[in-house]
């Protein structure tokens, strides 16, 4: 009945919102997903990304907006009739059913003929490489295996949309990397439209065709991994995209988008993402890998530099992560290809194109999420 076709041109979220007792958990989510796309919903915990996913799944009713597949409105359908598949963070396998039966469950619900169920389950099991465990119960499997069963269970019905709710967060680091590749491979092989929720920006950047960054229930930016990585829309997105050095400074000169910023101790040239005026308070965002320690062998004092004292040196394989403190007491994270001596003074340099300047917003600690507040406290 509702499982008419698994192909569509576009899935549209129109002004989708959800509030819990007057408290908005998700506001005005507008997104058009194309057939076969892999979209990541990214944000810190409590940003509304899981709410968004549950709303789309139909497990939570929407309080605002609508969801359309082509012209068909699906947000009024109950979850079981939307023909979506879902992978849960805690796997949510049926503990009393074997791996095979877990995977067959959705097909049985769709009244697929028995021989076809058998064939498709066998295919799905092969796809996630669980042939040897087909008759085991979920309790006998490891976390990674359970997650593979959960993925097979979601994709075997060839749903119109696969929803994944932080599927890798319960796995250990090594397994997470493997499963990341695995999910990407499955997506490429099956071409299933996927909406993937995660708080791990690396995971999102490496897997998704497009990312949606959420904060406090509001969309901050939608774009390809490159767009988000290179030109974050605001300081929050920049923070989330790995711009660990966020420095509050004042604009001293403006020339188009090239601006000079500084305080009484330092001066930097950067690129303004939005028009700013001289004298405005701004926040500069620099990735650690864009802020380099000038090698002592470098002949001349480089351009666009800051001097600072080395406080911490961590070995990261091919390079060194260095913590430094500027004369005004700011802590910065930088990279170096040689280990500087702790306590010594070094020169840091950055490409002005990689110093992103955002207008400062008044920061209200209360409006921050718990995670952000903790981060802010650590930074101070």
């Amino acid at each position: 009945m509702s499982h008419s076709t698994s192909t569509f041109d576009s899935l549209q979220l129109k002004n989708v919102g959800r509030s819990f007792g007057g408290q908005d958990a998700l506001v005005g989510l507008n997104l058009t997903i194309r057939q076969g796309e892999f979209i990541a919903l990214l944000g810190p915990s409590g940003c509304g990304k899981s709410t968004a996913l549950n709303c789309i799944a139909g497990l939570l009713p929407l309080t605002h907006g609508e969801i359309l597949i082509d012209a068909e409105r699906v947000d009024l359908l109950p979850a079981e009739r939307r023909d979506f598949g879902m992978v849960f963070q805690n796997y949510a396998l049926f503990p009393h059913l074997t791996v095979e039966k877990n995977i067959a469950f959705g097909l049985q619900m769709r009244k697929v003929p028995k021989p076809e169920i058998k064939r498709r389950v066998a295919e799905a099991i092969a796809l996630v490489k669980l042939e040897q465990h087909a008759t085991k119960l979920p309790g006998q499997l490891s976390g990674g295996q359970q997650q593979r069963v959960a993925i097979a269970r979601a994709v075997v019905v060839e749903p119109r949309l696969v929803l994944m709710d932080e599927p890798l967060s319960n796995l250990d680091a090594k397994l997470r990397l493997e499963m990341r590749t695995e999910i990407r491979r499955l997506h490429l092989a099956l071409g299933l439209t996927t909406l993937y929720v995660t708080h791990d920006q690396e995971e999102a950047l490496s897997m998704a065709d497009r990312l949606v960054v959420l904060r406090e229930g509001r969309v901050q930016q939608i774009g390809t991994p490159e767009e988000l990585h290179n030109s974050p829309a605001n300081a929050h997105v920049a923070d989330f995209m790995g711009y660990r050095n966020l420095i509050d400074l004042t604009v001293t000169a403006v020339d188009g988008s090239a601006v000079t910023i500084g305080d009484h101790a330092l001066s930097l040239r950067g690129t303004a993402c939005e028009p700013v005026a001289v004298g405005a308070r701004v926040r500069a965002a620099i990735r650690p890998e864009d802020l380099l320690v000038v090698p002592p062998t470098a002949s001349a004092r480089g351009d666009n530099t800051v001097s600072a004292t080395v406080t911490v040196v961590e070995y990261h394989g091919r390079e060194f992560a260095v913590g430094v403190t500027t004369a005004t007491g700011r802590s910065l994270h930088v990279r170096s290809d040689h280990p500087p001596v702790v306590g010594s003074t070094v020169e840091l340099t950055a490409d002005p194109a990689r110093v992103l300047v955002f207008p400062s917003e008044a920061i209200d600690l209360d409006s921050l999420s718990v995670d952000e507040r903790e981060l802010a406290e650590v930074r101070q």
Binding site: L59, A79, D83, M86, F94, H96, F105, M109, A154, V157
Partner: protein, 308 residues
């Protein structure tokens, strides 16, 4: 106020709660004491005394039920089984057993059918007046049965259903339904709720979730709750006694009536034989029960039988 003589080990006044507690602490040795401390001996001696009483009571009744005659001696002169056949005929034991089983099974079926859905809602949902409703379900378990039993029995006699099987079943439902709810609620809470979401996302509707996912997962809990209700209903004296009549007495009530009516003399052995039948029945139930549930569940909440 509680300064009366209490027979057995701690004999003197257990007046204020903190005091006996500290004293019991002195009895409870650290778990590493390899040398048996005096406290250990006291614990073991107390336990032994308890068992001597227990075994004594049990064997006396069993010996009595076979003895003819047994008056002023250690053991009866002869052992016979005639008390059983006599009792079986005189008290209509076949009928009494039939009533007992009918009542117990009907109570189990109704209280499970009514209690499990309610427990599911209490475990899974928040809704207005949830606390009030929970309290309402808790009260019949906390109240002395007589407190609500007497008004309930009065209503039943007024309605003309006193002394009927229906009345006996209905009174036993009053504590049984809350009991099923209290036992099943934590059990249901332990079943991961996202499993139900996963089933919905696989396309299962409410009925299919119920039959294919929840029911199989709930069976161990329902089984445990049923056995507990069985034990309680077969053993329930006060409530049944208030509304039952000659045709609707359960075994335990029939024994009480025989004890208070005939009193002493030859009837004692008849009563003993009935009591043995009762205990044997309960033990069979218990042995079956212990295959499915742990002893603590007989009194406490279902905890161990996790599925996922």
């Amino acid at each position: 106020m509680a300064t009366q003589t209490v027979p057995s080990p701690p004999a003197e006044s257990p007046d204020a709660p903190p005091d006996p507690r500290r004293r019991s602490g002195a009895r409870a040795p650290g778990e590493k004491s390899l040398v048996a401390a005096p406290s250990t001996w006291i614990v073991w001696a107390g336990t032994a005394a308890f068992f001597i009483f227990l075994v004594g009571i049990l064997t006396s009744v069993v010996v009595d039920s076979f003895g003819r005659p047994w008056f002023d001696s250690w053991l009866p002169e002869n052992f016979v089984t005639s008390w059983y056949t006599d009792a079986w005929q005189r008290f209509g034991m076949a009928h009494i057993m039939g009533v007992t089983l009918t009542v117990a099974l009907t109570v189990i079926v109704i209280s499970t059918l009514v209690g499990v859905p309610a427990a599911y809602q209490l475990a899974r949902r928040t809704f207005p007046f949830k606390r009030t409703i929970t309290l309402l379900f808790l009260l019949p378990v906390l109240m002395p049965p007589i407190t609500y039993g007497i008004p309930l029995a009065t209503v039943m006699y007024n309605l003309g259903i006193g002394r009927t099987l229906t009345a006996v079943i209905l009174v036993n439902l009053v504590p049984s339904i809350p009991f099923v709810i209290i036992t099943m609620t934590p059990f249901i809470e332990q079943i991961n709720p996202t499993i139900e979401n996963a089933a919905r996302m696989s396309g299962a509707n409410m009925r299919q979730i119920l039959t294919k996912i929840l029911l199989p997962l709930l069976i161990p809990g329902v089984l445990a709750a049923s056995i507990l209700v069985l034990v309680r209903t077969v053993g329930m004296f006060e409530l049944t006694f208030l509304v039952s009549g000659p045709q609707s007495d359960t075994l335990v009530v029939a024994i009480y009536r025989a004890m208070t009516a005939a009193g002493g003399g030859e009837a004692r052995q008849l009563i003993s034989s009935m009591a043995v039948v009762y205990t044997a029945t309960m033990m069979v139930i218990l042995i079956v029960a212990l295959r499915y549930i742990s002893p603590t569940q007989l009194v406490a909440r279902v905890k161990e039988s996790r599925e996922d």
